[in-house]
């Protein structure tokens, strides 16, 4: 069965610091990858997605992620975080079947002003 791992459970940064959140998946076949964000008190929202093509994908609010097939990774990055980026971030993957998503356990990001 496919699984998704997020090894950073809680990250604390100061504003303007750079961010990288790790995500690894276990499935070796075709995989679609996603990052979702959950701001305090809000529902899960799609941040960005990768299906195929350019392994560097750009999402909303200045976030980007790089798919590295050889490392089974899909790390999320942002060059300069803002206080408003404080949220919980979830990496997710699908194994090609319709919409059966596997989620990581999430990373809580706390950005200090």
């Amino acid at each position: 069965a496919q699984s998704v791992s997020q090894h950073n459970h809680h990250v604390i940064l100061s504003e303007a610091a750079s961010l990288e959140l790790g995500c690894n998946y276990s499935y070796g076949g075709t995989v679609n990858l996603f990052w979702y964000v959950q701001y305090p008190g809000q529902h899960l929202q799609l941040l960005l997605k990768y299906f195929s093509g350019d392994p560097l994908v750009k999402g909303i609010k200045g976030f980007e992620a790089e798919f590295i097939k050889s490392k089974f990774s899909f790390n999320l990055r942002k060059p300069s975080v803002q206080w408003s980026d404080t949220a919980e971030y979830f990496c997710a993957a699908t194994q090609g079947s319709f919409n059966k998503f596997y989620f990581g356990s999430g990373t809580k990001l706390n950005v200090k002003p």
Partner: protein
């Protein structure tokens, strides 16, 4: 506006009781999936409904059942509640095609005492 609406927002039940949670998908979406998110964990796939039939199922016991109506709305039923069923239950809607991202509701917080 989440687009996906869930009710109720909170629910408290006693062990052994039964519960029904409701979900209306985002306008235009035809597929509804249910996820369980325990505290400190990522969402775990329960099952998916399309064309009023359960299409896929995660690793959850038969106590968890569902239904989809002709208007695409859905219910999640849990029988013989256990303390371990306490969690946030998320409904997500999508289009029934590969790579369609999930759109989440705000969830129903179920507490079993």
């Amino acid at each position: 506006d989440a687009g996906v609406t869930q009710s109720p927002t909170h629910l408290i039940k006693t062990r052994g009781q039964q519960v029904t949670l409701r979900c209306s998908p985002k306008s235009g979406h035809d597929t509804v999936s249910w996820y369980q998110q325990a505290l400190g964990q990522g969402p775990q796939f329960i099952f998916q409904y399309y064309e009023e039939e359960e299409r896929q199922r995660g690793n959850f016991p038969d106590r968890f059942s569902g239904h989809q109506f002709p208007n695409y709305s859905s219910e999640l039923n849990v029988n013989a509640l256990l303390l371990g069923d306490s969690a946030l239950y998320l409904c997500a809607s999508s289009l029934h095609r590969d790579n369609s991202p999930l759109h989440f509701g705000n969830g129903t917080r179920l507490t079993v005492t």
